[in-house]
Symmetry: C2
Subunit: 340 residues, 2 copies
């Protein structure tokens, strides 16, 4: 099969990789219908995160089941399935509490690499959720978004305790931030402030439900949020970047007793304990337990209540993955869908 491999920062190649095979009796093999490039793929691509290349890339996926292991009971060949970036058994105590991305048996899909034509999915019964029937082609991008960015934005909104009557600010206008806006809208937020300085992203944020746009960043961004909230700060702030500046901005934009939901993968972030202590915020986040939300999100997409696939503003053949990474790195594209 063909698959994307990172050799070194900036050096993505699509090349022949061995076809995956069933290793554990709980595995499934899927043929990818679509895959994509994640904001978090840019960390190693930019060399910010060390990778021992050559390494297969990608952890978002939808596709059709080709084969299952002997212990797979509910997932069947021929089903169209969506999974998350961590395979999980969905039966352990941590999974049952809703934290499948910390499953005691979790397997990171990024190590398997789903920017490819085929992929092995461990713990198939726990990991994969089948659609009611094979989807129409125009639903595929939204189902693919559910695999990570939508589920991650959703978790950010839940972690930030978004709800009716609340003012929500979203730090970060990447695909996750935009999906967090969509989630905040669905969860009933009264006011949704998207922090963005890029016109096409502002526009999509508004279409997803943002009521206000703030273009300032850092301390000026904090001041803008305070000015809009009677000096108090937002009730809920979703952090979808993962840098020191964005985390600081999120915490300082939140009122005492408010909630910060952070889903940007933290890189080089240090939180000063005294500032956090006196900020009085609730802080929760981490790798989103997307599996928890998949049945609900697939239902919303299936019924065309939401259209998160709109975050894909560039579609390329898998073989042009290098161009896809470049477009996202240079912020020419919000998110790139790859057709295997």
């Amino acid at each position: 099969m063909r698959g994307a491999v990172l050799y070194a920062p900036g050096d993505i190649r699509v090349e022949h990789r061995p076809d995956p095979a069933i290793i554990e009796p709980t595995d499934a093999i899927i043929r990818l219908s679509a895959t994509c490039i994640c904001g978090s793929d840019l960390w190693p691509y930019r060399g910010v995160e060390k990778h021992d290349g050559p390494a297969p890339m990608g952890h978002e996926y939808v596709g059709v089941v080709e084969e299952v292991g002997g212990q797979v009971a509910t997932i069947k060949p021929g089903q169209f399935v969506v999974g998350s970036f961590f395979a999980s058994d969905n039966t352990c105590e941590i999974c049952r509490s809703g934290y499948q991305s910390s499953c005691v048996h979790r397997v990171p899909m990024g190590a398997i690499g789903t920017q490819a034509q085929l992929a092995r999915v461990p713990l198939a019964d726990g990991t994969l959720v089948a659609t009611p029937e094979p989807p129409r082609a125009d639903l595929v991008p939204s189902l693919l978004a559910a695999s990570d960015v939508l589920g991650t934005g959703w978790f950010g909104a839940v972690a930030a305790a978004v709800g009716p009557g609340k003012t929500v600010a979203v730090v970060g206008d990447g695909a996750v931030g935009l999906c967090a806006v969509l989630a905040a809208k669905r969860l009933g937020a009264e006011r949704i402030i998207a922090m963005s300085r890029h016109a096409p992203r502002q526009e999509l944020a508004r279409e997803f439900g943002a009521t206000d746009i703030v273009t300032e960043r850092g301390d000026e961004g904090v001041t803008a949020i305070k000015d809009m909230t009677g000096g108090l700060g937002a009730h809920s702030v979703i952090e979808a970047v993962g840098t020191q500046e964005s985390m600081t901005q999120a915490i300082r934009s939140t009122r005492p007793g408010g909630h910060v939901g952070y889903v940007g993968v933290a890189h080089g972030v240090e939180l000063p304990g005294d500032e956090l202590f006196f900020s009085h915020v609730h802080l929760h986040g981490g790798p989103a337990p997307v599996r928890q939300y998949l049945p609900e999100l697939i239902g919303l997409i299936w019924n065309r209540d939401i259209d998160p696939g709109r975050v894909f503003d560039l579609t390329l053949p898998l073989d042009q993955s290098a161009e896809g990474y470049k477009a996202m790195d240079e912020r020419r594209a919000i998110k790139v869908l790859l057709s295997p």
Copy 2:
């Protein structure tokens, strides 16, 4: 009047200070029935926290109202009252959301100094809660505990989402940690693990409701908690110290999706963002909104359902404050009550 003043690290003197007077029409003057020394008073006493001495000390208090300003409507002279370490209006949006210690008009009582015979209490109607009638003498220590350590331990337990069926660990065996054990018991925790290596504190922890004692600290303490919880960690961990080691221990002792409630005033703490991200814990804490809990806690004390005053294991006249600080600094006393 007489009052305790910190001149320099280790140098506490009780001396003549001017009697307080009504400054704002919302003030009350109270005559202290009892006051005490807080673990947080030890930070400046030890020189860990800078203080521009000479500075009045103390922020815990119960007493009888002597005089009220012209705009005080509900608090009356002659009432026995309990207040918290932040004066608060109890009417602003932040107070109404339950975060009175971040009231937009808050005044730190520590700057006024309640280790004294008299004290001015700003925002009296919002800050003070009167008992049904003057209390019997044996209730005074517990009412004084409600002023800070009990309310703080209670907030720690609430912030750690303590509840029925949960396993709770408490890091710190000072008065706040012990009160957190008591709070966890009242809030229905199934298992309460007190982390302590001091026999008299272990004993009080057990009397307050601890089911288990762990004497190990740091990584060994984390391992002990994991071993007791099927490798997962506790559902709820209350941090009641405020150091890097205790915060790290608390976070690592908590299972993914679990809650850390931190009430130890953070000193020199830096939380690494990536560890926090992948820990998947909820983090909440800060200066406890004791005012929120005072009516309930006073009720429990009044009905003799709880006896938090037992954390006071040394009572001294106010004039011997220096000896009180020394006893707490050397961990000879858990908490020192001062009789003005």
